[in-house]
Amino acid sequence: QQQVKQSPQSLIVQKGGISIINCAYENTAFDYFPWYQQFPGKGPALLIAIRPDVSEKKEGRFTISFNKSAKQFSLHIMDSQPGDSATYFCAASRPMEYGNKLVFGAGTILRVKS
């Protein structure tokens, strides 16, 4: 079963617009929620991450919003640029779990039109 559900599958945004990608999780034991960015032909790379003790984390144009009661978190990309066109994955992990494994969402393909 998919433990982390991500939507939408694909997204087209105009340059300068706001891109929003959403994730929902089932397991309340998750305590680490990263977003990974992947450009074509490359491996994923950590973009930004959050823990449940805060409701929002901002790094430049990228913001994670976290709603613990709804078991949802989202990535907001402000002033989206063509260079942001990539696949974005949300993920989650449990504390102290053997191997510190990440569970990934299905991914969102973002295209920013110039």
């Binding site: 990974y36 032909g41 491996g43 790379a45 191997g99 510190n100 990934f104 299905a106």
Partner: protein, 114 residues
């Protein structure tokens, strides 16, 4: 500092053939992971290792074997390749513990099984 490297970058196999994918990391990380990436399914964990000489099954281990004889290397083997194993394979590594949560990914191996 090369980070995580993967060999080969591309490979085409016939059904029933075997091959080994090599992952190497120069960051002295204890944990290493093998994922497969398929369209619309995100990254799924195949096997992982928490240290030299250890391996464990992930979400989709069937048809794959792994070995971690040296800390810096993690090998993924396909004994008898099947078309269902056509995918892009990623290796990742990290240090254990809270505060060192980032998984560092390699560039991937694109495998086609005919």
């Amino acid at each position: 500092n090369a980070g995580v490297t993967q060999t080969p970058k591309f490979r085409v196999l016939k059904t029933g053939q075997s091959m080994t994918l090599l992952c190497a990391q120069d960051m002295n990380h204890e944990y290493m992971y093998w994922y497969r990436q398929d369209p619309g399914m995100g990254l799924r964990l195949i096997h992982y290792s928490v240290g030299e000489g250890t391996t464990a099954k992930g979400e989709v281990p069937d048809g794959y074997n792994v070995s971690r004889l040296k800390k810096q290397n993690f090998l993924l083997g396909l004994e008898s390749a099947a078309p269902s194993q056509t995918s892009v394979y990623f290796c990742a590594s990290r240090q254990p513990g809270r505060g060192t949560d980032t998984q560092y990914f390699g560039p991937g191996t694109r495998l086609t099984v005919l």
